[in-house]
Structure formats: structure tokens, C-alpha cells
């Protein structure tokens, strides 16, 4: 058997972008917006953070000063949140205010986001004039992976649960808080009503448009954090074009897998993360094809869950009823 104590932390760091993406998408979908732009938004969140960190590090280099941990975290984080917020606003404006088709808008945003990331990523690489097609932000990475100093001394428990950068904990906290808000607060109740039946929510005096905007934008920002984590923590501060891969789509699959519950997402994302890297831990030999089969597992599992929930037809486990449908008050 393989070594669980070293496998688990790798699954966890693998899971964080998925968790952020799926928490964000769950909040968005609860408002009835099916945001397929999440992969693009995570890309934009990542590159925005990279841009912020890059110029901060450049200015430090020019002044020959050491990095300030607080600013080193704050600048990329704020850039990331603004970048993904703008993406969320674009999506909301198109689908809520102009009532454009949500699928088309989302897919367009994904294409746009990936292109946006690659364009600015490429530009920064040119600026550095480096030989390798990537940007290394090791100082910023250092800020993001500050760990509890005593974690390593706590044996397997410390190594499995306490030995992570702060974004890991933040993403878990966000997921649990989101789950609590959705289930146990007035705003959560109103938000669910908007996603299920906007006409009813409207009649009850809930501002449908505002809930959709807020849910989508907050969801986008949470998803953007996932992109930031991927670069600054997981990838050791190294941006390379297309490096993020298909994690955005996996995050959307995760929403279905968790039947729209962010608290389940915390565990499900670790499972997905584990499945995602399983091929590294199982000897596959030189045969690349088998490796690809292992990579498929998360998607297969999602399909199985989809089939299972569809067959059981439990109302609570279905997607929000008006998911993907624009709301227009005067429509009969």
C-alpha cells in the first residue's frame, strides 16, 4: 500500500482550487445562474494575482528591499478578487440585465478568460526576457506558504492537517460558512428561492436581480481565489500558460457531485483531488493510455452521481429549478 501520510496532503492541495471553484459555482447556481465561465474566471483570478505580484516584486527588486509579507499577500489577493469580480460583473450584466443566454455567455467568458490569462502571461514572460516560458514569483510564493511552525513536530496529524498555507484553511472556512448561510439564514433562504422560482421570490418582495448579481459576483471572487491558490501555493509561484489545466471544469462537475452543498464539497474536493493525482501513485509503467484512464475517474464518478440522483428523483438533490433560465417579470 502507498503512504497515506504523504498522499493525503497532496490530495488536499490538489483539492483547494476545485473547492473554491465549486463553492463559488454553487453560490452562483443557487441564484439560478449557471455560470460556465468559472474556468475562465479562475484563470483571470490567477493571472490578475500574478500581475499584481509581478509588479510588486519588480518594484522591490528596483529598490532592493526584502518582501513585506503582508503586502506580498494583500496585493495579489486584491488583484485576484478585482479581476474575478469584473468577470462576475460581466456575466451578471449580460445574463441578468440583458437576459442573454447563460450557457453561451459562460462559455464565451471561459474562452475569453483563458485567452486573457495566456496573453498577459505571455506578455509578462516577455518582460522578464526569460528563457523558460514561465514567470517565477518565488518571494510571493514564500508569503503564501507560511505555515504553522509547530505543525511538523506533531507527527502524522500535523503533517496531514496542519501543514498547509493559509489559503487552504480559508477555502474550507468559506465552504462551511457558505453552507451555513445557504441553509440557516434569511439571505440564504431568499437566495434559494430566487434560484428555484424567481417569480415567487419577486412576489415576496425579494430583489431578484440584486440577489443574482451578488451571488454571481461573490461566487466568481471565491472561484478566483482558487486560481490564485493554484499559482501562488500549489505551483510554487510559477505561472506558465495553460498550466491550470481542466480544473475549472472539474470544479463545475464537483457542484453536481456535491448536490449543491458546499460543506460536502470540502470532502468531495479532497476525494476528487485524490482521484486526480491517483495515477502518480499507482504504477502505470510507460503506458500513457492507462494514465489517461485514471485521470478520467473524477468525471466518471460525477456521471455516476448524476445518474444516481436523477434516478432517485429526490427533489432536494435536484439542481435549482430555474437554473439557466433568465428571469423577466412581465413574462407570463
Amino acid at each position: 500500500m502507498f503512504d497515506i501520510v504523504s498522499f493525503f496532503p497532496r490530495a488536499v492541495v490538489q483539492s483547494v482550487p476545485l473547492l473554491c471553484g465549486s463553492t463559488g459555482e454553487t453560490i452562483t447556481e443557487k441564484s439560478g445562474n449557471l455560470n460556465l465561465g468559472i474556468p475562465g474566471i479562475m484563470y483571470v483570478g490567477a493571472i490578475s494575482g500574478v500581475i499584481g505580484a509581478f509588479f510588486y516584486e519588480q518594484s522591490l527588486k528596483a529598490a532592493d528591499k526584502p518582501i513585506n509579507t503582508f503586502l506580498g499577500i494583500l496585493i495579489p489577493m486584491v488583484c485576484c478578487l478585482i479581476g474575478s469580480l469584473v468577470m462576475g460583473l460581466i456575466y451578471s450584466f449580460l445574463t441578468v440585465s440583458l437576459r442573454a443566454n447563460q450557457n453561451v455567455t459562460g462559455l464565451a467568458l471561459t474562452t475569453f478568460g483563458v485567452g486573457f490569462g495566456n496573453f498577459f502571461g505571455g506578455s509578462l514572460i516577455k518582460l522578464t526576457g526569460s528563457e523558460v516560458p514561465s514567470i517565477a514569483l518565488s518571494a510571493t510564493h514564500g508569503c503564501f506558504v507560511h505555515k504553522l511552525p509547530f505543525a511538523k513536530n506533531l507527527g502524522w496529524f500535523g503533517r496531514m492537517f496542519l501543514n498547509y498555507g493559509f489559503l487552504v484553511y480559508i477555502s474550507v472556512i468559506i465552504a462551511f460558512v457558505a453552507a451555513y448561510i445557504l441553509r440557516h439564514t434569511r439571505h440564504g433562504l431568499n437566495l434559494r428561492a430566487v434560484g428555484e422560482n424567481p417569480a415567487t421570490a419577486d412576489a415576496a418582495g425579494i430583489n431578484v436581480g440584486r440577489y443574482k448579481y451578488f451571488a454571481t459576483c461573490i461566487g466568481s471572487m471565491i472561484a478566483g481565489l482558487g486560481g490564485l491558490f493554484y499559482i501562488m501555493d500549489y505551483a510554487s509561484g510559477v505561472w506558465s500558460n495553460e498550466g491550470f489545466g481542466d480544473r475549472g471544469w472539474l470544479a463545475i462537475a464537483l457542484v453536481i457531485f456535491t448536490i449543491w452543498r458546499p460543506n460536502i464539497g470540502v470532502f468531495a474536493s479532497i476525494l476528487f483531488g485524490a482521484l486526480y493525482i491517483l495515477y502518480l501513485y499507482i504504477p502505470t509503467g510507460a503506458n500513457q493510455a492507462i494514465k489517461e484512464f485514471y485521470k478520467m475517474i473524477p468525471y466518471v464518478v460525477t456521471i455516476i452521481v448524476l445518474v444516481a440522483t436523477s434516478m432517485r428523483k429526490k427533489k432536494e438533490n435536484q439542481p435549482p429549478e430555474s437554473l439557466g433560465i433568465p428571469y423577466f417579470r412581465e413574462e407570463r
Partner: protein
């Protein structure tokens, strides 16, 4: 003229009341004065110069045919529309109502015909939705308040039940409590009984009486005269958007109300021509149907439908009527039994497991009007002509469809059934409920069927349109068609049908001769097998 007279009479009575019971009676809870509302910048006049009064501790019935402007008038009171002209007074003070929220702040709550509820939420969650109360969300406390309201007025409701598990009447209860929870004391109910069984209607009326006793003002929009008689204190009649008159219920007759509503003398008797031929058309034997989750919906039901006869089917809603009709139409998977069809030559053939289209072509048509009216049979976004084409697009050999015939048919249906529509290229969902039904029933009848099945054909229709439909059914009967009529209104069923098949919980409770039975007997058969329960209780 007669209307004006009664209007004056009412005011006279008010004056008398004032003398008798002191000051709190004199100011109407709501007074609408000279209300006018037009749509399409004046092209359509929905209400013209309408004035009504509603008093606390009274139930006012707003009576009128489909499209007479009852709902529009009430929508202005509940903040959905804004009047073009006129004033609204609440407790004597002039008010401006711009939104449903304004209305609720004034204590006016409306229960619409189409429920606005979120399926996956519980009753309580639906009730408190959108409320801006201080502090943490406390569902337990809210549920307790819901329970209190239930106890106070005699509702039966589990505060934690999910809406998707509820029957129509339970959903209506949630809607009413929603309004009461927001402390409304002026309640407007838009055709509340259209979807209820007689038993459910009774318990609703009991609740309304409790509210009345509690000093609330209640307005009920309806066109069912027997209900008006039963529940209301006053009746205000509207016709073509205009106020016709006000009657005191206890001093007027249904004939008088009908005449005011329709504007001419109307016969309230339903024709029942003698059956012709009476050759067996359908022989149903031991039909058993189980729903997807294993519940027995029909249990060994056997009967025959004869040509030239109207066979009524009675039963509490959900007793298997839908499954029965769908099984005959080939839309329902059956477990056991047989449905034999006797064709023109007298030969019998099994209908079970046949393709619905083939069954249709044999001349067996089904027009089912579901609770939401549009759900089955018509496509809301398509226009009248295209909806007619849904039945004919397979006809002909050419790869292109024939558009002329359906257009003609649509025109014919509009013409004969007096469908109110801007034209035959109007999307069906834009028509009012009654007109949608006419289109559906009209199309089914146009196919010259040998067996015509209609379910709830007059659901929500006003008296005039209902009679049009009864006449259509009788015409088919005279042509020798076997008509199977599923209806809710027992009075109508007994007057229209020749024989009545009564279902009780999926079982055949009895087949009654409509000419010899009465409402009580049918009701007894509906609630207990073979009408036995009644005797047992004694």
C-alpha cells in the same frame, strides 16, 4: 337599471346598519371609487368607472364572467396593476398602492389563482420568504406562529411539510397563511375553489367564516353561483369591465345573479338528450395501474362505455381518473386487465400496449384539462393554428405539412366557441384560461371522434363558456359518440351524464344511473366503497 336599484338598496342597508350597530360599521375597509384601467394604451378597457365597497366582518363575492375584469380590479387593490383613474380608500383614508408590498403594508393580501410557492422549501420557509424581520432566522418560532394561525382559523397544515409533497388545497392553505402571517386583514381570493374538491371547498369556507367572525374583510372572486350563495354576504357583479350592481346574497336568487352577470336571460338547466344507439364502444375489464413509486392507482376497475351516451366519472381528485383516461388513450403503463374497443364493424380489439397514435386514429380522443390548464395538450408558445396542427401534422404523404387545414380549423373553433383572441396567430399562453380550454376542447371535438374523453373541461370556466362546452358534448352524444366526462362539479355531472362511474381510491365504487341518483349518494360512493361507509357509521 336593476343594478342601480340594488346598489342604492345596499347603501340604504348600510345606513340602517350604521344606525343599528354604531360607528365601526360605517367606514368600508376598502372603497374603490370610479376605477378605470386600460391596457395597450387605451385599446383594451379592463375596468371602467368601477366603484365597490368592502366592509369588515363581511364576505363580498365579486361575480362576473371570464374577462369581465374581476381579477384586474383586484390586482389594482393588491398592487400588481396601477389604476389609470379613480381612488382607493382604506378605512376611509385615500391610499396609493404601487406594489404588492404597499398593499400588504395596508393589510391587503391577495391569494392568486396560480400559486407562487417554492417547491423544495417547507410550508414555513415559503411563508416567511422575503420578510425582513429583525434578528436571526428562527424557523422554529416561525413554525409555531404558523401553527397558531392554523389553530385560530381551523386550517390543517404541517409547517414542516415540503411544498412538492402537498396537494393543491394544502398549497392554497400555505398561500392563505402567508398572507395572514403578514397580518393582512383584507383578503382577496381569486377563484379559490376552482381547484378544490367539494370537501376541500367546504373546509375552505369554514375558514373564511372564521375570518369573517374575526372581523376581517374577505373578497372572493368566483363565477360559481352556488358558492356565492353559500358563502357571501354581498355580491358585486361586473360585466365587460363595468360595475353592474350589488346584491344582498340572502335576498337574491341565482337566476337573478346569472342574468346580471350575463346581461340576458340564461337558462340554468343543462340539456340531457336521450341516449341514442347505446352500443358498447369500450369494454374495460379489471384495469389495474400502479404509479411509478408502486402506489395502486387503479384497482380492478371494470365498466363499459356506450355510444350515444355521456358516461360521467366522479371521484375525489386523484382517485385514478387521470390514470384511467390515460390508460385508454395509450399513455399509461398498465399492470393488469384489458380495454377492448369495438369498432364500426362490431369487431373487438385490445387497446392496451398499442401506440397512442394508432389509438387516436381509431377515433378515441382525449382532452384533459390539467390543473395548470396548459400542461397537457397545448404548447403555450405556439399560436392557435399551430396548436391545431399538433394533431394533423402527420397527415398526408408530402414531406411538407399542410398549414391551411389547421388554420381553417382554428378559425372555426374561434368562431364557434367564441374564443376571445386577437387572432389565430396569437400564442396560446397569451389567452385567458377559459379561452385556452375552448381551444383545447374544440380541437379534440373537431376530430369527429367515436370515443370522446374530456376531463375537467369546464375547469375555471364561467357559466356562459361552460354551457357552450356542455352543448358541444351533447351534440357529440347525439351523433352517437361515446362521451366519457370527468368532472368536479357534482351538480353538473348529475345533470349532464346518463350514467356515473364513481371511483373511490382507485377502486370502482359503483355505477349509478344519473337520472335516479342525487348529490349525496354520489358523494357517499366517492368517499366509501359502494356507499357502505355511511351505513357503517350509523
Amino acid at each position: 337599471m336593476i343594478g342601480t336599484f340594488h346598489y342604492n338598496l345596499k347603501h340604504l342597508l348600510e345606513l340602517v346598519n350604521k344606525e343599528v350597530s354604531g360607528l365601526d360599521q360605517q367606514v368600508p375597509a376598502v372603497a374603490m371609487r370610479n376605477i378605470t384601467k386600460t391596457f395597450n394604451s387605451g385599446a383594451v378597457v379592463a375596468n371602467k368607472d368601477v366603484s365597490i365597497n368592502v366592509f369588515r366582518g363581511e364576505i363580498l363575492a365579486l361575480l362576473g364572467e371570464n374577462g369581465s375584469g374581476k381579477t384586474t380590479l383586484m390586482n389594482m387593490l393588491s398592487g400588481i396593476y396601477f389604476p389609470d383613474d379613480g381612488q382607493i380608500f382604506v378605512d376611509g383614508k385615500e391610499v396609493v398602492i404601487r406594489s404588492p408590498k404597499d398593499a400588504l403594508d395596508l393589510g391587503i393580501g391577495m391569494i392568486h389563482q396560480h400559486f407562487k410557492l417554492v417547491d423544495v422549501l417547507t410550508a414555513t420557509e415559503n411563508i416567511i420568504l422575503g420578510l425582513k424581520e429583525e434578528g436571526k432566522l428562527d424557523l422554529k418560532k416561525a413554525a409555531q406562529r404558523v401553527k397558531d394561525i392554523c389553530d385560530q382559523y381551523g386550517f390543517e397544515l404541517d409547517p414542516y411539510q415540503k411544498v412538492y409533497n402537498m396537494s393543491v388545497s394544502q398549497k392554497q392553505t400555505v398561500e392563505i397563511i402567508k398572507v395572514l402571517y403578514r397580518k393582512a386583514d383584507i383578503l382577496i381570493l381569486d377563484e379559490p375553489t376552482a381547484v378544490l374538491t367539494p370537501q376541500e371547498t367546504n373546509s375552505l369556507f369554514n375558514v373564511l367564516r372564521n375570518m369573517k367572525a374575526d372581523g376581517k374583510a374577505v373578497i372572493i372572486i368566483t363565477h360559481k353561483l352556488n358558492e356565492v350563495k353559500e358563502i357571501s354576504d354581498y355580491v358585486d357583479v361586473l360585466r365587460h369591465g363595468e360595475f353592474i350592481g350589488s346584491l344582498k346574497t340572502s335576498e337574491s336568487t341565482t337566476q337573478e345573479m346569472t342574468n346580471m352577470m350575463v346581461g340576458r336571460q340564461v337558462s340554468l338547466n343543462i340539456d340531457r338528450p336521450d341516449p341514442v344507439g347505446q352500443d358498447p364502444r369500450l369494454k374495460i375489464k379489471d384495469l389495474t395501474v400502479r404509479s411509478e413509486d408502486g402506489v395502486l392507482k387503479l384497482d380492478h376497475v371494470s365498466f363499459e362505455a356506450l355510444g350515444g351516451e355521456v358516461l360521467g366519472i366522479a371521484g375525489i381528485s386523484g382517485s385514478g381518473q387521470k390514470e384511467l383516461l390515460e390508460a385508454i388513450a395509450g399513455l399509461q403503463v398498465t399492470e393488469e386487465g384489458s380495454i377492448m374497443y369495438v369498432n364500426e364493424d362490431g369487431a373487438e380489439e385490445e387497446l392496451l400496449n398499442q401506440d397512442p397514435n394508432k389509438i387516436r386514429r381509431k377515433g378515441i380522443t382525449l382532452s384533459f384539462v390539467p390543473e395548470d390548464r396548459l400542461g397537457m395538450g397545448l404548447v403555450g408558445n405556439m399560436d392557435l393554428a399551430d396548436n391545431m396542427m399538433l394533431r394533423s401534422f402527420r397527415a398526408g404523404k408530402s414531406p411538407f405539412t399542410d398549414r391551411k387545414a389547421p388554420r381553417k380549423l382554428a378559425e372555426q373553433v374561434v368562431d364557434e366557441l367564441e374564443v376571445v383572441t386577437p387572432g389565430i396567430s396569437t400564442a396560446v399562453r397569451r389567452l385567458s384560461g377559459g379561452n385556452v380550454q375552448k381551444v383545447l376542447v374544440g380541437r379534440e371535438i373537431a376530430e369527429t371522434p367515436r370515443v370522446l374523453m374530456t376531463a375537467y373541461a369546464v375547469r375555471g370556466l364561467d357559466i356562459n363558456s361552460s354551457y357552450t362546452i356542455y352543448n358541444l358534448i351533447n351534440e357529440q352524444k347525439k351523433k352517437g359518440v361515446a362521451v366519457i366526462y370527468v368532472g368536479e362539479d357534482l351538480d353538473v355531472l348529475i345533470e349532464l351524464a346518463d350514467r356515473i362511474v364513481v371511483l373511490c381510491d382507485g377502486k370502482l365504487s359503483g355505477i349509478l344511473d344519473a337520472r335516479k341518483t342525487d348529490k349525496n349518494e354520489v358523494g357517499l360512493y366517492m368517499t366509501s366503497l359502494h356507499g357502505e361507509g355511511g351505513e357503517e357509521n350509523e
